[in-house]
């Protein structure tokens, strides 16, 4: 109730005061999407329905009856969430042309509050990957590739080679959503997070990426990857906005039996002034092999920031961290093998012309519909689930999972409130470099710092921290206790305020900018 009553400034207030109308806002976002098409952040732009939603929102504002803070706010949704009447592809040939008959619960919630759905964002096929490079619609380009900050620091090999070959990846798998928020084409976007898929691209694109506690937000309508780890992720330009989105999405859903029944109370993130009662844990195992010296230095600087402000900063140990990735590899592929079994061409999606038998039709459909990454994981998963392997691999991984989760329990029980770690091993790699290694290798490398939070079901957030030597964003991650999002976001917001992460300087946006696209500040709060 408090959130709805509060007067908010920036975009939300601008809408309320009539300084801008929802249709104007929507049109500007749509125009910007068009002029930033080269980013390939969107798979589907739902122009007609978005404008209609904006018109309806406008009517409500005229009557003085907006539905809430999100009324009229343009948002984007990762293309693995079902959206009624709008194509949902998961960036796969398997679902090209698939028009969902229903909205995912989180999508419905956004629409019920008047948000304007601009479109569906690009991702790695079926959310498998850490680059947003392996979808059938092509890779997503990191908006920072075109920023003055990056261009100033890069040494072009030749004038013509400049932008075309130098562009960097967004990270993944929610790269499209991260790019959309980062390039101002929407004010918030939904991603998903199974091994870091929201936090990784958030770090590379310089935006806030929140992975909520498992069981807090409904997965109904989110096409599943790993049922025991998937969560919808929230991408915004500041921590306050993440809290607004969280408030509108969290809560029990009778359609998702893995959501907890406890009441969720939406909150505004308090402004923390005194951190002396805070205990920050620095897990030493997160000084992972391959961590860039730049990020290591930033991590250290951040720890000092807290220490100098009076917080207690302690080194802690999560001894099973190094096995998290292996554990994930087994559990993920096993659940994927099960989840992908539904794609057989009969009820929906791609269907092969093969007619010899049901089985041959299934096999051909799946060969034609899935890329190598997906097929590879299905195979591995089935191997680990074979009767002779079940105990050795699947059950073993479930036991290791408990050990990993217990590591966190022990640390939080020892008095630590929040953990501070890097989010990624380095800043965003150039696309040409990234594709030198295969998807599985990349995922194994890149998920190392984010994956354990999914294993344990804990809430975690990426906060953009500073620019690297190459002029690209680097973020740091905070991991909190189960269902303690308020504490997590409070600390994140304090940190965000301290670091004053710079705004991206994008020429395309400057042309469209008229002051409505300010974003270091919240879209919803002053």
């Amino acid at each position: 109730a408090a959130l709805k009553d509060r007067l908010c400034s920036q975009v939300s207030a601008a809408l309320k005061e009539g300084r801008v109308t929802p249709t104007e806002l929507c049109q500007r976002c749509l125009a910007l999407i068009k002029s930033t098409k080269f980013l390939n952040a969107y798979i589907t732009v739902a122009e007609e329905t978005a404008l209609k939603q904006a018109e309806e929102s406008e009517e409500r504002y005229k009557r003085g009856q907006p539905l809430g803070i999100l009324d009229g706010i343009p948002v984007a949704v990762k293309d693995n969430f079902n959206t009624a009447g709008i194509e949902t592809t998961c960036a796969s040939n398997m679902l090209k042309g698939y028009i969902s008959p229903y909205n995912a619960t989180v999508v419905q919630k956004l629409l019920d509050q008047g948000a304007v759905l601009l479109g569906k964002t690009n991702l790695d096929e079926f959310a498998m990957g850490s680059g947003s490079t392996d979808g059938v619609f092509g890779p997503v380009r990191n908006p920072w590739s075109y920023s003055n900050q990056y261009k100033d620091k890069s040494v072009p090999k030749s004038h013509s080679e400049d932008e075309e070959s130098n562009w960097v990846i967004t990270g993944g798998s929610s790269g499209g959503s991260a790019a959309a928020v980062s390039s101002f084409t929407c004010f918030a976007a939904l991603g998903s997070d199974t091994g870091g898929s929201t936090r990784n691209p958030a770090a590379h694109c310089g935006v806030v990426g929140l992975k909520p506690t498992y069981g807090l937000i409904s997965r109904h309508g989110l096409i599943p990857l790993v049922n025991s780890m998937d969560v919808p992720g929230i991408l915004t330009r500041c921590v306050d906005d993440a809290a607004v989105l969280l408030g509108s999405l969290a809560g029990h859903d009778p359609k998702d039996s893995t959501t907890v029944q406890d009441d969720f109370r939406p909150f505004e993130v308090p402004d923390l002034t005194d951190v002396s009662k805070l205990s920050i844990g620095i897990p030493k195992e997160y000084h992972a092999p391959g961590l860039s010296s730049e990020i290591l230095a930033l991590w250290s600087k951040a720890a000092d920031l807290f220490k100098n402000a009076g917080a207690k900063v302690v080194e802690v140990s999560l001894p099973h961290t190094q096995y998290s990735i292996v554990c994930y590899h087994v559990l993920c592929t096993a659940e994927v093998a099960s989840n992908m079994a539904r794609f057989d061409g009969l009820e929906y999606g791609h269907r092969s012309d093969e007619k010899e038998s049901t089985e041959s039709m299934y096999a051909a459909t799946r060969r034609e519909g899935f890329n190598e990454v997906v097929r590879g994981r299905i195979l591995s998963g089935n191997y680990f689930l074979l009767k002779e392997n079940y105990e050795k691999y699947f059950v073993k991984a479930q036991k290791v999972r408990r050990l990993i989760a217990n590591d966190f329990v022990k640390v939080f029980r020892s008095g630590v409130d929040i953990l501070l770690t890097p989010t990624t091993l380095s800043d965003a790699a150039p696309y040409t470099e990234f594709i030198q290694e295969d998807n599985r290798t990349r995922s194994a490398q890149d998920d190392v710092l984010t994956q354990a939070a999914n294993m344990a079901g804990l809430p975690a957030i990426n906060v953009p921290t500073a620019l690297s030597e190459r002029g690209l964003p680097v973020g740091l991650q905070f991991i909190g206790r189960s269902f303690q999002e308020k504490q997590l976001l409070t600390v994140a917001k304090w940190f965000e305020k301290q670091v004053q992460f710079p705004m991206i300087q994008l020429e395309e946006v400057k042309r469209h900018d008229n002051g409505v696209f300010q974003h270091q500040k919240s879209a919803f709060f002053s």
Partner: protein
């Protein structure tokens, strides 16, 4: 320890995806090798974990009441081959 031909056949049948090219088999071998690292961990006396919500919440059963349905048309909408209210599969 290489994956035997019998197991490969069995897997292909179960998974219903092709991977007969050597690259696919190699990838599987690498995946198994990677997973073998799990055996370095001592899990004596440790119970497998199904869900992180095991303490907070057991998967509950709801009342056996019909709350939705009658959406045959919607469900058939996305199928490529159908006859009346049936999905059609090749024979055999």
């Amino acid at each position: 320890k290489k994956v035997s031909v019998e197991v490969l056949d069995h897997l292909e049948h179960l998974a219903l995806v092709d991977f007969r090219d050597s690259e696919g088999v190699q990838r599987l071998q690498k995946a198994i090798q990677f997973a073998d690292q799990l055996h370095e961990v001592n899990t004596d006396g440790v119970e497998p974990m199904d869900s992180v919500l095991e303490d907070r919440w057991c998967l509950y059963l709801r009342e056996d009441d019909v709350t939705e349905g009658n959406c045959t048309k919607d469900l058939l909408e996305n199928a490529r081959e159908k006859v009346e209210e049936y999905f059609v599969a090749p024979p055999g």
